[in-house]
């Protein structure tokens, strides 16, 4: 399901009793560099509560003037490593963290983009259109018949197509540039969109692409630029084409994916799931 599961190391920049505080500029440089490399960093100073530790390792950095204390978690659940950073420049502190981490695997920015749909359940009506629209099984149904995102990793990076066709404007992609797909508030024209229910099965009676285009032409005036079935369809097609181009999906496998019959079947299954979910409510 999810393959990028290496959790970041939690680094604690300790500036409490027994340690000398870093200059603010150095503190900011160190924190920016560590965050940009994927670490989680706690600044331990004064005036706010810290999030409790969990079961990971802690790396505690402090200007202890050569006397980094040996610390042990009272519960025995967390391994604590302390390092003295007295007199070290920001670059040297970041290098020290890398050295302390060693070869422990960690997710790192730049190697993967967290791209997946996020459902706004305050708007979602469980209509299951996203489930029938997505060709990659990103969506599924929970035990209590609610639509949910079940396979994040199946989502195709930069494809927000399902969000564009959601009749309730309930699907967000936080890494998308424009609203309301990025989670921005929904304006009145988008709210008007809520009343448009699309019967996916009827759309797919003929050729899937021409059917959706016909449907979009009829409803064009009611769709915003960012939320249109035309764009959704193009993105889905681009996504498939890119997958073939990159060699991720052989052409013959792709050819078997979006046939009209299969989509119709999928829509029927989704419809049945939706009906069952609604009946159970």
């Amino acid at each position: 399901m999810i393959t990028h599961t290496h959790r970041p190391l939690r680094v604690v920049l300790y500036e409490g009793s027994g340690s000398i505080a870093l200059p603010a500029e150095s503190r900011a440089k160190v924190m920016m560099a560590l965050l940009d490399q994927g670490y989680t960093v706690t600044r331990s100073g004064h005036g706010a509560s810290a999030v409790p530790h969990d079961d990971r390792s802690l790396l505690v950095l402090g200007a202890f003037e050569g006397r980094a204390p040996a610390l042990e978690d009272a519960t025995g659940l967390v391994s604590i490593d302390t390092r003295d950073i007295t007199g070290l420049a920001p670059d040297a502190i970041v290098a020290l963290v890398s050295k302390s981490r060693g070869d422990k695997p960690m997710n790192e920015p730049g190697k993967w983009k967290p791209w997946f749909p996020v459902i706004d359940y305050s708007r979602c009506t469980n209509c299951m259109q996203c489930l029938s629209f997505c060709l990659f099984d990103v969506y599924g149904v929970s035990e209590d018949n609610k639509i949910q995102v079940q396979n994040n990793d199946n989502c195709k990076t930069n494809c927000p197509a399902c969000s564009r066709v959601c009749p309730e404007v309930a699907i967000m992609f936080p890494k998308y540039q424009a609203g309301p797909i990025n989670g921005d508030e929904i304006n009145e024209s988008e709210s008007g969109r809520e009343k448009i229910k699309v019967d996916i099965s009827s759309l797919l009676g003929g050729d899937i692409y021409s059917a959706l285009k016909d449907r979009s032409a009829a409803a064009k005036s009611r769709f915003s630029k960012e939320r249109s079935p035309d764009k959704a369809l193009d993105e889905r097609k681009k996504c498939l084409t890119k997958l073939v181009g990159d060699g991720f999906i052989p052409a013959d496998v792709l050819a078997s994916l979006p046939s009209t019959e299969e989509i119709l079947k999928k829509a029927e299954i989704a419809k049945a799931k939706a009906a069952a979910a609604l009946a159970a409510q």
Partner: protein
């Protein structure tokens, strides 16, 4: 005196959708304060992996988060299985200024 708020800053390091100037300024101003605070590389990345650390964050009282759109941030936590308390304050680095955000984050309730 009431307990201090928990401050969380999201760097959005896995995608450059938060303006660099704003997120740098917010972090610099937090660093210039004396407050303790938490920072994460990317809340989306953590939510994608159902990182249990999100549960620890959601369990904090008086939580203030500097990240992006509140609707998206709430959705991320909920989808990960750890809904945020209703009173959580979410500041949006994609639309607000660094000064507005820092003022809200460091505001004293006492």
């Amino acid at each position: 005196m009431s307990s201090p708020a928990t401050i969380l800053y999201c760097r959005c390091a896995y995608a450059q959708v938060v303006p660099t100037g704003v997120k740098n300024d917010v972090l610099q101003q937090l660093c210039a304060s004396e407050a303790s605070f938490e920072t994460v590389s990317d809340l989306c990345e953590m939510a994608a992996h159902r990182d249990p650390r999100l549960q620890a964050i959601a369990a904090c009282s008086k939580l203030r988060i500097a990240a992006c759109y509140p609707r998206a941030v709430k959705g991320l936590f909920q989808q990960a299985g750890f809904p945020l308390p209703a009173e959580t304050e979410i500041l949006n680095m994609r639309t607000q200024t660094a000064a507005e955000i820092t003022e809200s984050l460091l505001r004293s309730d006492s």
